[in-house]
């Protein structure tokens, strides 16, 4: 039941937000987080925003996979060609996410 839907904030109104939940669904939901702005990506659960998605952290999982694969290959746990395949895929998928990274200051 703790299913969360990723949404995008379209506008703010008092203590409510209008959120695009995808698939043509736009709903007014309660704001359960601090410092929200239009354009933010959020997790919506049962009519309330429970979390603001951090764009910078989307690449975290891929970096974790890369690190795991490299250390495992170094200890002989997977062959070199498997590591190369994983790194190529991680690089490609990272490039998809990089267009959404926050601007560097």
């Amino acid at each position: 039941m703790c299913l969360g839907v990723y949404g995008r904030v379209l506008s703010l109104r008092d203590d409510a937000a209008i959120v695009d939940l995808g698939g043509g669904v736009v709903k007014e939901v309660m704001i359960g987080v601090e410092e929200l702005e239009p354009g933010d990506y959020v997790v919506v659960h049962a009519g309330i925003i429970v979390s603001k998605l951090s764009r910078g952290e989307f690449l975290h999982v891929l970096a974790n996979i890369k690190e795991s694969a490299e250390s495992l290959q170094a200890s002989g746990g997977i062959p070199r060609e498997s590591l190369d395949e994983i790194l190529r895929r991680v690089e490609y998928l990272s490039s998809l996410l990089e267009t959404h990274q926050p601007a560097k200051t």
Binding site: M1, C2, L3, G4, Y6, R8, D15, G22, K27, E28, V29, M30, G32, V33, E34, Y41, V43, H45, A46, G47, I48, V50, S51, L53, S54, R55, E57, F58, H60, V61, L62, N64, I65, S68, A69, L72, S75, G77, I78, S82, E85, I86, R89, V90, L93, L96, L97, T99, H100
Partner: protein, 387 residues
């Protein structure tokens, strides 16, 4: 940037990527081989969220893991653990003319005792009661304000859901004719209870969306007190696979730590605004879990300042105490053991015989996030490991 694909679309592409999944499975197999060489025969990883169980089953993750790595469903469904007492109270109020609001899963949740021939709110509606399924508490607030009649909301849920009750209470948005049958529950106390009883849990995949509220740090007792590697994870198949790999990596390295895989949504300290709302509106009390009994400090209760919205006080209902608690499962139902991860749904004699998603007998077959319902709808009756 204009013209760029939506981050959510890109995210689905990345976190459901088959080639990446194949790579992570190779990592998992490599880590498992390292453990096997050290004489480890079995690794049991427990999840505490119905959505993790759904992802695991829907994407066939059990079938792609090494035979010694087992994923077990723990207490992760707030509808399944809602005691029969609350359902019976809601049915009684609905039949007495109170407009009753709740979520779709709780609408079908069966009680142990029939109230005037009705075992669920859906049956009460068939008898003519005014029972309304809503998406959120906000819908009930609007409905009750418009109708002006005595109304009640069967408010189930874990920490993720309860801020949706606390927020309008604190901001004085709840109409005076709407009352809460509050059955909110906290997950870490149940997790502690489950790992103490299962005993052989080697790793935990902690719930991502509960953790958006309570913070990843709330799970630190698992590595500290029980020596269990714990990873707070997201809900896409890549998230679950990498969480398994992270747990195995800790076991290989001899570490017991708390790690956050779902850092895109979860912080260490949690959601300060939501926690503050919960703190203002609710006290934490010992509370009953269906088929399990009372777990210390595991339930929410409205603070005295909000008791005018408490359906128990308004309608003269009395919540059961630990002294008069009786097991609230129907005869033959083993949902209590399924919820704790002690038994699998397939070990129940009623599974897909007397108890099916269309005609649920036990609470875990009702909710879409109940382990029995997930296993019945999506497989897991036999794990395919070879083609």
């Amino acid at each position: 940037m204009k013209g760029d694909p939506d981050l959510r679309t890109v995210s689905k592409t990345v976190f459901r990527d088959g080639e990446l999944a194949s790579g992570i499975i190779k990592i998992i197999n490599g880590l498992w081989e390292a453990l096997r060489r050290r004489g480890v025969g079995e690794v049991k990883i427990m999840n505490f969220c119905g959505t993790h169980e759904y992802t695991t089953s829907h994407y066939g993750i059990r079938s792609v893991l090494p035979r010694g790595v087992e994923l077990v469903a723990g207490p992760g469904c707030p509808v399944c653990i809602t005691p029969s007492f609350y359902v019976e109270a809601a049915i009684r109020l609905a039949l007495d003319g109170v407009t009753l609001y709740t979520y779709g899963d709780a609408y079908r949740l069966p009680a142990v005792r029939k109230i005037n021939g009705c075992r669920s709110l859906s049956e009460a509606r068939m008898m003519g009661a005014d029972v309304r399924v809503v998406y959120s508490f906000l819908d009930a607030i609007r409905g009750a304000a418009e109708l002006g009649r005595p109304s009640a909301f069967l408010a189930v849920g874990f920490e993720t859901t309860c801020p949706a009750y606390a927020s309008p209470l604190v901001s004085d948005k709840v109409p005076s004719n709407l009352f809460l049958i509050l059955a909110g529950r906290l997950t870490p106390p149940a997790a502690r209870y489950a790992v103490e009883r299962v005993g052989t849990v080697s790793g935990v995949i902690a719930p991502g969306h509960v953790s958006t509220i309570i913070g990843a740090g709330a799970w630190s007792f698992l590595p500290h007190d029980f020596g269990i590697p714990t990873v707070v994870a997201g809900f896409e198949p890549i998230d679950v696979l990498i969480a398994v790999a992270m747990i195995l990596r800790q076991l290989v390295m001899g570490k017991t730590e708390l790690e956050v895989e779902y850092s895109r949504a979860v912080s260490w300290e949690g959601n300060r605004r939501a926690l503050s709302l919960l703190d203002k509106a609710m006290d934490i009390v010992d509370a009953a879990w269906r088929g399990i009994g009372f777990i210390p400090s595991s339930g929410y209760k409205l603070k005295p300042a909000f008791s005018r919205y408490d359906a128990f006080e308004e309608f003269g209902l009395r919540e059961p105490t630990s002294a008069d608690w009786v097991n609230d499962l129907l005869p033959g139902c083993i949902c209590g053991k399924v919820i704790l991860g002690v038994s699998k749904p397939t070990e129940c004699k009623l599974f897909l015989k007397q108890c099916t998603p269309g005609t649920p007998y036990g609470p875990c077959m009702v909710s879409y996030e109940g382990a029995c319902s997930i296993w019945a709808r999506l497989g897991n009756r036999e794990i395919i490991t070879e083609v």
